[in-house]
Amino acid sequence: MTVVINGRDDFTLENYRRVSEVGEPVAIGPRAREAMGAARADFIRLLESDRTQFIYGVTSSLGPHAKVTIPPEQQRAHARAFEFRGNWARGFGGGYLDERVVRGIIFARLANFVAGNSKARPVIAERLAALLDGPLPPVPLDGEVGAGEALPLAHVLRGFRLDDLEEGEANPVVNGSPVSAALAADAALRAAPRLDRAERALALSAAAFGVPADAYAEELGELWGDADEAAALAALRRHLSGMSPGRRQAGPVPASYLILGRVLGQAHRAVAGLTEAARVSLRSVTDNPVYLPPDAAHPLGQAFSTGGFHNAMVYPALNALAAVWADLTLLAGRHVTALRAADPAAGPGPELSALAEEARAAAMPTLLPAAVNDPQDDVSSPAFGAYRREATAAECLDRAIALLAGEAGRALDAAGRRPAPPVRDPLQRVRAARKGPDPA
């Protein structure tokens, strides 16, 4: 199948998944081609009306040299000399982005184009889309923090043909914030299944401990008054349904079991927050400069500089998710401690403590970088750092819930009880894989 894009509304998470993960190609639809063609003609009229007006990257130089004007006769050559390929690809080390994310970046890149805001010809968008038909260059994870996202985009676009670009067509390829959009979408697509796995493992643990079902009663959803906590409670009840009654441990139920609905509720909220950040970012027009088609007040349209290249929504959403994974990793460790309270044999406690500490370290938020590149590019984007930390925290959680599921199964075996059907199959897989990374 091919994903056909005609407008910004086609940049959905589902289409992202098809292109990024399934590997489907992208075709520029007729409505998008028409919009781009019309906008390009309008833009050229605007440019020809005064080639000395300031249009960043078109009639001016770039970055710290933005105030340097490019003479009209040099403006086309200026577009073709734009060094966004190899010469701007400076990062190295730290491993590489998965190719699915690189595909996602190219997909997200096209949102700038399809409504004509890029001021580029349709052929440029089609050329971008065609990159998805071949192998893509590696994008190092280290050294990608700068103003906007030009550094990682330079790696992504190593194979992009440059020699026939016209005025105003270079910037929309390399400016904007499609990398943040893709990183958010990639993490969001993994977050929901991960949360489901964690809920299953924690429910299995609650079953093994013998937590009274009332602790996750439906009525609590209304009494607490939060939709995300209600969803978490419902998930716990669903996973526990059919569990044979029994109480393995004597004495009171530890707080780490009772608060599951509240902590998982925050996880639901964080996953929803990241999903929303991905949804908004994928369809955003973030180019600098951005072109607006003609209207009554501006018969030639307008091209002006913006800060669209800085996505301020994605890295905080990734930070929030990393913090949630860290808290859930801690809870998994607490559960294992509770399940083994009466068992003197060594268990996975030390490993779980280490995982919790690593996850907590990864939950330190990425903020706007303190370092300055130059007086003009005085704030950088921290999206890469946030993506990597979330991935580290997620890896810790994956391992922790695998260990927890194994311990819970052991506890159920010791009590001669069977888990509820919704968590029985995952448990069997964990047992089969012994210490596999993923219980679901």
């Binding site: 933005a66 009332d214 009772l258 027009v285 607006l292 913006t306 905080p316 939950a363 706007l368 590019d377």
Partner: protein
Amino acid sequence: MTVVLDTRDDFTLANFRRVCYGGEAVQLGEQARRALAAAGRGGTPPGEAGAASARAAPAGAGSADSGGRYLDEAVVRGILFARLAGCVSGHTAVRLTAAERVAALLGSPAPRVPSGGPAGPDEAAVMAAALAGVRRDDLGEAERRALAEPAPCPAALAADTALRSRHRLESAQAICALSIEAFGAPLGAYDAALDDLWGDAHEAAVLRALRRHLDGAGTDGRRFHQAPVSYRIIPRVLGQAHRAVAAVEKAAATALRAVTGDVLLAGRVLPNGGFHNGMAYPAMNALSAAWADLALIAERQVTALNTAETSGLPVNLAVPGAPTGTYAYGWAASSYAEEARAAAAPALLPAAACDPRSDVLSPAFSAHRRERRAAECLDGVFAILVIVCSQALFVTNRSPAGPLRPLLSFARSVFPPIDGTGVRDLSADGQSLQQALAAAAVTGRLGSTAP
């Protein structure tokens, strides 16, 4: 005035403000009294020791080391106010008499509650200290436990944070608009078309606010080329702050009206995890991070304004007789930004376990303290930005857009331009402006700027 509390829906942020900042008393309404009376008809609830008791301390346990400091009275009043939310629907073991005793505490000065020194207070100890004035010797065990259940702490902390953050954000928007004017940044970066092109409601709200502040701004003297990144990305960074404020408001509104602790339903007791608020501390964490990022942006703008090669303004924004102008404020701004970043380290579930039963503690007080510190630093760096903006306009004899003039007048009434005359304590004047910003975070009044 008195706030009448009838149902959980009366536990709003607006009523929180009236009771906790305005000092108004509360009164249990008829509907609440009926529900509370019905809750008591079954007598003391049976069942095992409730979950809430896991974190409930006995009366008098609030004697933890205070480090000589105490919680703000508004927070203590907020804890008592939030305590009543769980009661008025009759879902807890708290009966009418006990609820009236709690409500009565809000008719007089709040008890002093130790703030716990560098480690912060324990929620159970805070509850015990806040309720020390409530007679409990005639209450049943379950009722005593229900009173002491600690979830009102994070509810009050979130509400306190929410009420200060909305006005702080409004001030930030006005000051950023003043900075745009002082720098002469092109206005296209705040164009109405971006509302849809970026497609985010929070960023759109900020863009609208900036345009309101910049209404009537002229184009003469504005730079022809694009401004530094720190100016162009302001709507997006403020948009994230807007999102964080909305999240903490939601967390507060939800927590204030929640029924927490052991719940009575149809004659049975439901022990549960309501005592742990999983929403408030992440929301406060996110706000701290947003303040830290804003502090960095403000520091960058201070640097841009102070740097003649970047701004095109006079060197150091200086006048004869005061050659260093506002230069050193850039250094001071850096220190505030760094402190704000340190405060943005998130409060997570504490790694240490108290005991096998109370094996997860609440980080709400830590998150609240860090947010307060980040906000204090933000006020500091924004005070400096206002000073530098005022000076930039002064040395070039310019006025900002009309809606910003009251803000500029107010700022200059606290911190007049450095004009080279007289002897001034610039440190003290700067602190006065920081304190004015902190006060405006509560009152919402900062030079009568456009809302």
